[in-house]
């Protein structure tokens, strides 16, 4: 038995999903789109699984994520739908509900956030709604994780059956259109009602055409056009979609009026929001408050003082180097593995994978803090505060969340762009994010600053970060003037109410993101570390050679002359940059190995500066490139994301070198 879980964004769908299900079954991909599909077992219901659909306002999609819903309804096999509804926003949520009920599939309505609604002084008369909509319904607060609620939902699902689907009284023109399209579809075999399909087509659900043959699609489009013209001609609404929308809204308004029961006079929470909003989004203080909060977040994640993340990292480092690697090494020696194979495991794989895993605790702490800010509703205010500034560069206000994440790691930052509805704005954000200095680049700065710029520590560090931000903004501006015209022109944001986030949900979200990060980054780094180690330990002469005779040094020696203008045209510096393509933190360990622990000998102060600048901006790491590939689904833009930063890094480093050579 499979049930689909559908609902609007931000209604507590994830909370409900975790509350209803236990063990993990699998995470797959929906075909054609890059949205991960979560399927888990339902508790207290043997053999039943729940599929988590992306949050959507409509069955017909207005973003890539939302296309999944149409796809699933048409192609997945399922026994029923659970529609989760935010009781405090019934009027908006019920639009999706109506569309699902029109489908005529067994549906269970779950009115979530019962407690929040109660705090506003209202309750939902579930029985009334259930009778009127002819479906099963239940109300609860998923975050209370009440065991009885869980059992009663499982029981409801076991008894779920099809009632007669609801039919709204649409305008006669629309009814005519439905009939016409229905006739055109009469020989098609689909698993849903054709009248429903017809209505969805009239509404503009383009996703459906993918499953119809082309000749028919043209005839159907002609019908849609005719109905649209009649609707506008007779002044029924501003558009066909609007006419359907308005009929639904009337139906919903009646329903809500009948079933919302006021039990107590309470001041609505929005007045509370208004007061806080005026402070947090204040034209003058809003941005300083945001910076102060972010400084705190980064301090806790990466800093020394108050540094929870750094503390965990040092534990982890100890565990990895002193215990795991140590015992593994002894174990290998014990069973007689030495030389080449020993080096591959200990110096290749364990060092390479350890290099990135060491950052994991800090990144988990960052994810946790960001999920916390998101959960309280503050991130939406940040988008508001930053919108005017960011839109000047072609970004969307919502780009701020990926950008903030980007200081931790670019991979989850790119994934976080999914909330940006506009495709161009999303692409623009994805392509410029790698310039924001991720935490993996930090070791490079730290090493070079401590060797060459000890007196100007803070200044150089800040300078590198500001340079990264400036390049991000300038690149975005250039892209918005060339390939992505018109970006930054639209902004529309649903402002969520302030909520006290739940520890469980936040922790779950952070761990889930961390898991994805490890999976994505880990795989590439594992393979990459092996290749890199082999390349630097095998040469034309065979194995067991000096590094300078390896394939790596030969290739790097061949490429290195192009870096002569930048001041570091030698094979050691170049091969370290190569290895940085696997993961930026490897640059440092690689330099250490190749310069035999004496990096200071390999650079002048100026070439150290250009090297740091170049390393902070050049080609993103392989995990990032792979993420860009899967998120953009475009080979062209993936290549761009490799080539463009290289060119930019080269130019910026060259300019800095020239300036210093001429003036200093």
């Amino acid at each position: 038995m499979i049930y689909l879980l559908a609902g609007n964004p931000n209604v507590g769908k994830s909370t409900f999903f975790n509350f209803m299900t236990q063990s993990h079954v699998h995470v797959g991909n929906y075909s054609g789109v890059t949205v991960e599909k979560r399927v888990h077992h339902i508790k207290n219901y043997e053999g039943a699984n729940l599929v988590d659909l992306p949050g959507t306002y409509n069955v017909s999609p207005s973003s890539e994520d939302e296309g999944v819903v149409t796809y699933s309804l048409l192609n997945e096999s399922y026994s029923g739908i659970i529609n989760i509804i935010d009781s405090t926003h019934l009027k908006r949520n019920l639009h999706l509900t109506v569309q699902l009920l029109e489908l005529g599939v067994p549906t269970l309505l779950v009115f979530n956030l019962k407690d929040a609604l109660r705090a506003n002084g209202y309750v939902v008369d579930v029985e009334k709604i259930s009778n009127k909509l002819r479906c099963n319904a239940i109300s609860l607060s998923a975050r209370e994780r009440n065991k009885e609620d869980q059992i009663s939902i499982s029981n409801e699902l076991k008894n779920l059956r099809i009632y007669k689907s609801i039919e709204l009284n649409y305008h006669q023109h629309i009814k005519w259109g439905i009939q016409r399209i229905h006739d055109l579809l009469r020989y098609d075999t689909v698993q849903v009602k054709k009248k429903w399909l017809a209505l969805q087509i009239l509404e503009g659900n383009e996703g459906i055409f993918k499953f119809l043959d082309v000749t028919k699609a043209e005839k159907i489009r002609a019908v849609v056009k005719e109905v649209e013209e009649k609707i506008i001609e007779d002044d029924v609404a501003l558009s066909l979609k609007g006419a359907i929308f308005n009929t639904r809204r009337e139906f919903i308004n009646d329903l809500v009026d009948e079933s919302m029961i006021k039990i107590e006079d309470k001041e609505h929470s929005k007045y509370f929001n208004q007061r806080i909003d005026r402070i947090l989004t204040h034209p003058a203080w809003g941005i300083p408050i945001f910076f102060a909060i972010m400084l705190g977040v980064y301090q806790i994640s990466f800093g020394k003082f108050l540094g929870v993340g750094a503390l965990f990292t040092s534990f982890f480092e100890y565990f990895w180097d002193e215990i795991l690697v140590n015992y593994l090494g002894q174990g290998l020696e014990f069973i007689g593995v030495s030389g080449f194979a020993y080096g591959l495991v200990i110096d290749g794989i364990m060092a390479g994978v350890g290099g990135i895993l060491v950052f994991l605790p800090q990144i988990v702490v960052l994810f946790f803090m960001l999920a916390l800010l998101e959960g309280t509703g503050y991130m939406a205010r940040v988008a508001i505060v930053m919108d005017r500034f960011l839109s000047k560069f072609g970004f969307n206000g919502k780009s701020i969340v990926p950008m903030i994440t980007g200081f931790g790691c670019t991979v989850p930052a790119i994934m976080a762009t999914r909330t940006i509805v506009d495709k161009k704005e999303r692409m623009l954000t994805i392509l410029t994010l790698p310039f924001i200095s991720c935490s993996a680049r930090l070791p490079i700065y730290v090493i070079f600053i401590s060797i060459f710029f000890d007196k100007y520590r803070a200044f150089v560090m800040l300078g590198i970060y500001i340079l990264g931000i400036m390049i991000t903004l300038i690149s975005a501006k250039l892209l918005s003037l060339s390939f992505f015209k018109g970006t930054g022109s639209k902004f529309l944001l649903e402002v969520p109410p302030y909520r006290i986030p739940q520890f469980r949900t936040i922790a779950y979200q952070a761990l889930e993101k961390a898991k994805r990060f490890v999976k994505k980054a880990g795989t590439y780094i594992l393979v990459g570390s092996i290749i890199l180690w082999l390349m630097s330990n095998i040469g034309p002469a065979g194995i067991n050679i000096e590094t300078k005779d390896s394939f790596l040094s030969i290739i790097a020696g061949f490429v290195s002359p192009i870096f002569i203008p930048l001041g570091f045209g030698n094979w050691q510096a170049t091969s370290s940059l190569f290895s940085g393509f696997l993961a930026k933190e490897i640059v440092v360990s690689s330099l250490n190995i190749l310069y035999m622990g004496d990096i200071a000998a390999g650079f002048t102060t100026l070439s150290a500066l250009t090297y740091v600048v170049f390393a902070s901006l050049y080609v993103p790491c392989i995990s990032t490139v792979a993420t860009i590939r899967s998120e953009t689904n475009s080979r062209k833009w993936t290549l761009f994301s490799i080539a463009y930063p290289f060119v930019v890094a080269y130019i910026v480093a060259l300019v800095i070198r020239l300036i210093f050579m001429i003036f200093i």
């Binding site: 501003l238 558009s239 609007g242 809204r249 902004f491 529309l492 109410p497």
Partner: protein, 74 residues
Amino acid sequence: MNITDLKRNDKATIVSLRNIDKRFMERLMDLGIYDSAPVILLNTLAYDNLYIIEVDDVEICLRKEDALNIEVRK
């Protein structure tokens, strides 16, 4: 009159939407902004460049440029 002509906590009804392209219109509709929808102006932010309105219990933040295109009637 349009949304920018409202005062804080004024209630009105949306009459029409002008100069709004199809895709943006759909996004507005997802949030319930459409003709005959009741709207309340809750707040203005960033020196009156952003408008926070309420439609069907949903609080939405709009730019002034877009708020100007939404005609309302008190």
